[in-house]
Amino acid sequence: MNTFEATRLVAAREIRVKLRDRTFLISTLFFLLIAAAATILPPMLSGGPSTVAVTEAAAGPLRAAGLEVLAVPDDTAAEQAVRDGDADAAVVAGPAVLAMNDAPGDVVSALSSEPPVRLLNPDAVDPVVAFLVPFAFAFIFFITSQTFGVQIAQSIIEEKQTRIVEILVAAVPVRALLAGKMLAGTILALGQIGLVALVAVAGMAFGDSGGLLSLLGPAIGWFLPFFLLGFVLIASMWAAAGALVNRLEDIGGVSMPVQLAVMLPFFAVIFLNDNATAMRVLSYLPFSSPTAMPLRLFTGDAAGWEPLLSLVLLLVAAAGFLIAGARVYEGSLLRTNGRTSISTAWRERETLG
């Protein structure tokens, strides 16, 4: 049996245990419900064709366009119907379209022959969506890396706390233990957001926001590799933090830097997402690039080569943190008396590997 096989066994156990964890199952279900609700409900609520108040004589073309027609005796009654809220719009002699505060596009198009349209900035995004999408990306990365990072730390502490770790280390290489945990965490995290993404895409298709889907598609596509590497980065820190303590109660003290490394980029992306310079910087910094770069791609601000460069930077950072995290893990795994300092863990390379 080699390291790879051992890694697979360790990862399989972690996943098996997690899939039986009720908290995990319920939280996954909760995310799926949110994803479904967020994509299906808005079009349904805002949906339906406009109601047009119009004299019977002029109703023909409007009916043909599939609009709801409210037949009124004259133009005055039509205007009154709009003012009373009985109709969204009215068509009066002229012809002119009346509406309260929002030009009813579907009524206008029903009455006009439209020239071919060529959009010069097709990616310009509805401001509401432009606010929600960055929030969704940042939120998913924040919650998921937090949840599964903590899970990796907990699993490491459990093995130290119950002392089973010495049996494990005698049987398999330390790096296989760590790799198995990281692999399991990554698979579970990707599995969970994959499911959420699937439900969101299905919801958008079902809720007829096809336009949004085609806009979001590439951003989601880029989000996955960024998410993967960003997760490895955060999870390495959690692994090191977990290895430094011996009891679950002590995790709070060592996890502060990790929490900050997740939290600060989260708020930076949320609050600075309309500041182009700040976003450009954030989209290259390893801790914020997993959310900031897909976002710039979504708003169309990033050139084609930018995500690749950012991804390479993130890869280097993730690899560096993984190596450092593994070293701290190896150096502190068998120190079961109290908390180990990072410098001690760094110097101790006890096991034969």
């Binding site: 066994l9 245990v17 459990e158 089973i164 005698a170 049987a171 079961t336 006890e350 096991t351 034969l352």
Partner: protein, 297 residues
């Protein structure tokens, strides 16, 4: 030529403190070797080095003449001093898992687990979560976990600590089986009476250095003066004046005494018979505790 697990000149320091000094001894196949020493003498460090959990600074450990690699060590069974299993996993599942980590196929791990749980009396509780078992049963699960892959070599650090008497008997029986099957078994213990009852060979470590190693009989003859017990009818205080005799214990008509090297016990017996009837006269084997005390002096 017996196959042995051999430690050869093993040194180990933690910082400035040298905890193992040129440690060398053999653990012969098919024999139970007791490993005794005070707290902090280096027993756990030695065992961790055998298992590769710790690296030695110098020296080496070989099994059947081969230096230990991870592949070889994977066929070892190890019970660390500080032990535990996953509280939220069933006994069967985690013993199987440990079997697989030791290189067993899924099928072999399953079979090994079933057989061992039966053997340690846990077959009925196999599917229960470990945390729901009594402490005694958790210890049995621990034994199953150490033995599931039918190890070629067994290294057990304080296997009897915290065990109830029934569990001790189970462990002793299982270890004997493994030894009889040809495995070298090295175990440490604070309970010298248990070691005395169990071990064929003995290794005594003091302050990081091996003070004595060999079969129990060898050590007995090497480390104690010939000792006898004499029971007569009346007070045995006269023994004090016999040449070559050192009284160890005197309780009226019963006396325990050591003979100086080269002195013969027959003149003492004759002297006793001259004074009256002799009810008992026999050599006394020193207990392990006495050997241990003497070695540590």
């Amino acid at each position: 030529m017996t196959t042995v697990l051999r430690l050869d000149g093993v040194d180990r320091s933690f910082g400035d403190r040298q905890v193992l000094k040129n440690v060398s001894f053999d653990v012969a196949a098919g024999r139970m070797t007791g490993f005794v020493g005070g707290n902090g003498a280096g027993k756990t460090t030695t065992m961790r080095i055998i298992l590769g959990v710790l690296a030695a600074d110098a020296g080496q450990v070989t099994w059947q003449g081969q230096p230990l690699s991870r592949e070889v060590r994977r066929r070892f069974g190890y019970m660390p001093e500080e032990r535990g299993l996953y509280p939220k996993m069933s006994v069967r599942e985690q013993v199987t898992y440990l079997g697989r980590l030791h290189g067993l196929s899924a099928e072999a791990a399953r079979r090994g687990t079933d057989a061992l749980l039966e053997r340690v009396g846990l077959a009925e509780r196999g599917d229960d979560l470990l945390e729901t078992l009594s402490l005694g049963n958790q210890q049995r699960a621990q034994i199953a976990a150490a033995l599931v892959h039918e190890p070629e070599v067994l290294v057990l650090d304080e296997p009897f600590s915290g065990l109830d008497p029934l569990a001790v008997d189970t462990v002793v029986a299982v270890l004997r089986e493994r030894a009889t099957a040809g495995a070298p078994v090295l175990f440490s213990s604070h309970q010298l009476d248990v070691v005395e009852r169990l071990c064929d060979d003995l290794v005594i470590i003091t302050d990081g250095a091996i003070r004595a190693a060999g079969s129990r009989e060898q050590l007995r003859s090497a480390y104690t003066m010939p000792r006898f017990e004499l029971v007569v009818e009346s007070d045995a205080g006269w023994l004090r004046d016999q040449p070559g005799v050192t009284l160890v214990d005197l309780d009226g008509a019963r006396a325990v005494f050591d003979l100086a090297p080269g002195a013969d016990e027959q003149p003492v017996l004759r002297a006793a018979l001259e004074r009256g009837p002799v009810r008992a006269f026999r050599p006394v084997s020193p207990s392990l505790a006495e050997i241990f005390r003497e070695v540590n002096q």
